[in-house]
């Protein structure tokens, strides 16, 4: 119940398709989705394997609540070893694909090996086929989705696919489902490309049952009502995550021009208000808000570009509506690259969705390239004649498309900031942790965020912990380790349920998640067991990374955040105080000073076996 108790395994080398019962002991210990996939990954592959080689494992994982009436129940996670970081990659996505996979009867889809030729999977309940992807290889995500639905004469099929970027192993290629929802970070799409797998297409008609229907519906009603009346939910519905742009700008934590500044003058032209205000042609960027599967928040933005804008003036194919700007995309294309043209940002966002790339990492890489360009390290000879200055909207839109199509300088940008800057002999210009670019929060202004970035198992990420409260109250490294660790564990649990992290900012509390789980599943967790599951998941991810060869040296921040004081804002003069926070964090986690979990900690979490790697 809640789980489908069924794992689908496909070996792309031998084309063997098998199913097996879900390991229920693991399901109880790791819940589902992120946690459960991490356990299967750890047990199923050598963490030292090449992320882009056939020995890497690629898992699509749903949670026990995926496909139920619990709000935001559309989540699925893609878990694998990441090519951007060499660490565990775990990216989750909404849309409708995840629920469809669950409805087809599967908790996990585990892919191993590598197909000799391009293929896609068609999963129709029990009927699983590996089909020739030759007609769609080399085409976009948008085309692939349309082609599959049309070719199989079934518009109800849901598709997760990669674009040309993923086919060519752009290090931050993502898996896109439902046209503009993505398992976005850490290059999970490149892993799919390395396996010659273009798409996973699913139609599921089995549905999901729960253990205690009456109790579950009561829990659903309570959580729906809680969210309906919650201010955080209302703000998400009305504005999405976009207003964070103004908040971070005012606070002085908005990374600008590759972390040269923490404030951006152009915010007013690209913020949530700008998206809703008609421009000089009477065009309004934002059209509507839409939901992922089961979601009563509906933070998704649907936008369109001004028909007279330079990006689409002669390109009718982009005049339709599609996924619009949320905070991270607006930040990574806007302040980080110094661009304040909202339609250019929206077009670059369309490129990310159509070609399957992570906007945060693309923006971070482009910003690094802009810095190299302005420093004279690279010139127009490298950049296909494009003036790669900060603030140039054409540089943004042209390079977004080139990288998506894997053309010219886009191939270099596709390396990610770390490899690209190493190639040009300036590793200090790359702003990353473990090879992954930063989200839109400066670690000098938000200290706990800096610690969260440094210790995130998938490289720099803002969604692996939540220290906003403590960070806003105090801008030193004091007392940040505990909230960082506790929220990391809590989110590791949340990401394993099948629900969206945003529910926690929209009114949902731990007892509500527990009521949903404990009525849906034929298993109950106590409060302590939930805490421990979260910590276990986090620690197992850590063990994967250590076995892959990462060390405490990788729990670091770039020199720019550690040595160069923030130039403006409330944190003016501050640097990231990682030296204070990190030892405290290791100690609080029960890890040795070198960042390795102690035997006692592993025993406490039931992870004794994982130490062997």
């Amino acid at each position: 119940m809640a789980w489908q108790n069924n794992v689908l395994r496909i070996d792309l080398t031998t084309r063997a398709v098998t199913t097996e019962a879900l390991n229920m002991d693991w399901a109880h210990d790791y819940v589902g989705e992120r946690g459960l996939a991490t356990k299967y990954l750890m047990e199923g592959m050598d963490p030292k394997a090449d992320a882009l080689g056939p020995d890497n494992m690629l898992i699509f994982a749903t949670g026990p609540l995926t496909g139920t009436m619990a709000s935001t129940s559309g989540r699925y996670a893609v878990v694998t070893k990441g090519p951007l970081t060499g660490a565990i990659a775990c990216s989750n996505s909404g849309g409708k694909f995840g629920a469809e996979l669950k409805f087809a009867g599967y908790d996990l889809l585990i892919l191993t090996g590598k197909s000799e030729t391009p293929v896609y999977l068609l999963i129709e309940d029990d009927n699983v086929q590996i089909l020739d992807a030759e007609p769609i290889w080399g085409t976009t995500v948008w085309h692939t989705e349309e082609w599959i639905k049309s070719h199989h004469q079934n518009p109800q099929i849901k598709v997760a696919s990669i674009g040309v970027a993923g086919e060519n192993h752009v290090r931050y290629a993502c898996v896109v489902n439902d046209l503009h929802r993505a398992a976005g970070r850490s290059g999970v799409g490149a892993v799919m490309g390395s396996k010659n797998l273009k798409a996973v297409a699913v139609r599921g008609t089995k549905g999901v049952s729960v253990n205690d229907p009456a109790g579950f519906m009561q829990a659903v009603k309570a959580s729906h009502e809680r969210m309906a009346g919650h201010k955080g939910r209302m703000a998400f519905t009305k504005y999405g995550t976009h207003p964070m742009l103004d908040m971070m700008n005012e606070f002085g934590g908005l990374p600008t021009r590759n972390f040269d500044d923490t404030r951006f003058d152009g915010v007013k032209n690209i913020n949530a208000k700008a998206a809703r205000t008609p421009n000089e042609h009477g065009h309004t960027n934002l059209i509507a808000n839409k939901a992922c599967f089961g979601c009563t928040i509906a933070c998704g933005r649907i936008s369109h570009i001004d028909k007279e804008h330079f990006t689409i003036v002669n390109r009718k194919e982009y005049m339709h509506a599609s996924g619009g700007l949320e905070y991270e995309t607006a930040y990574a294309f806007g302040p980080l690259c110094g661009v304040d043209d909202i339609d250019a940002l929206t077009f670059a966002g369309f490129m990310m969705n159509e070609h399957g790339m992570d906007p945060i990492s693309f923006g971070g890489t482009l910003a690094a390239a802009m810095e190299l360009f302005e420093a004279g390290v690279i010139t127009t000879e490298d950049t296909d004649g494009v003036e790669l200055n900060f603030g140039n909207p054409e540089a943004l839109t042209i390079m977004a498309e080139k990288t998506g199509k894997y053309e010219g300088f886009g191939k270099i940008l596709g390396l990610g900031s770390r490899l690209m800057c190493e190639k040009y002999g300036h590793p200090e210009v790359a702003m990353h942790v473990k090879g992954q670019e930063f989200a839109g929060y400066d670690g000098r202004a938000l200290q706990g965020m800096g610690l969260g970035y440094a210790t995130s198992n998938r490289g720099a990420c803002h969604l692996r912990h939540d220290t906003f409260g403590p960070d806003m109250n105090d801008q030193t490294g004091k007392d940040k380790a505990k909230p960082c660790k506790d929220s990391q564990d809590y989110i590791a649990f949340l990401d394993s349920t099948g629900l969206c992290l945003f529910t926690s900012s929209a009114g949902m509390k731990k007892p509500m998640y527990m009521d949903l789980l404990n009525t849906a599943c034929d298993h109950t967790w106590s409060d302590d067991e939930i805490d421990q599951a979260g910590e276990r998941i986090w620690t197992l991810e850590r063990m994967f990374n250590l076995a892959a060869g990462l060390t405490m040296a990788d729990d670091n921040l770039p020199e720019r955040l550690l040595k160069t004081p923030a130039p403006s804002g409330t944190a003016k003069g501050h640097v990231a105080e990682l030296d204070i926070m990190l030892p405290e964090y290791y100690a609080y986690r029960g890890w040795a000073p070198d960042g390795v979990p102690t035997t006692q900690t592993l025993q406490r979490l039931g992870l004794d076996d994982s130490a062997k790697g």
Partner: protein
């Protein structure tokens, strides 16, 4: 007096809570494939349109049924499927001009909206009031009110109202 489902596509976010509520109400399982109401998306999700049976006054499905398995419930005005009589011939699915009665291969019967006996689960769960259950002779009341308010005798344009709800 009867009530009818009133659908306002501009308010629909395509969350599919209605489809799950419908399948749960009728079959005890969360399964959009078994829902009697369906959301259709167009233009990358720009439009999301809920669609279900309108409970026609002259029900083509019932007229076509060779075994009289489709009858009107006088309490709700809904045309309901009597599963004991339905032989799964699918003729009703051809007769329906709107496609809102469909064959369900898990039971070899057809299924359609029955207004949940007068308390439709879809309208109850809809988080944005895109689906409401109103007095059937006044399904245009809200729009009429808006028109009266606008003073122009016509409702606000799609774009304007969408921006307000967005």
């Amino acid at each position: 007096m009867h009530k009818a489902l009133l659908i306002d596509p501009e308010k629909c976010t395509s969350c599919l809570q209605c489809e799950m509520a419908c399948s749960f109400e009728h079959e005890g399982v969360f399964n959009p494939a078994r829902s009697r109401i369906k959301i259709f998306e167009f233009e990358h999700g720009r439009y999301a349109i809920p669609y279900t049976c309108t409970q026609c006054a002259e029900a083509w499905c019932a007229n076509a049924c060779p075994v009289e398995a489709l009858t009107r419930n006088p309490a709700t005005n809904a045309v309901e499927v009597n599963e004991n009589l339905c032989v799964g011939c699918k003729v009703c699915t051809i007769a329906c001009p709107f496609g809102t009665i469909n064959y369900q291969s898990n039971r070899n019967k057809v299924a359609k909206c029955d207004l949940c006996g007068g308390d439709p689960a879809c309208a109850k769960i809809c988080p944005t009031d895109a689906i409401t259950y109103v007095e059937d002779s006044w399904s245009g009341l809200e729009r009429m009110k808006q028109s009266a308010l606008s003073g122009h005798g016509r409702p606000q344009s799609d774009t304007q109202s969408a921006q307000e709800s967005a």
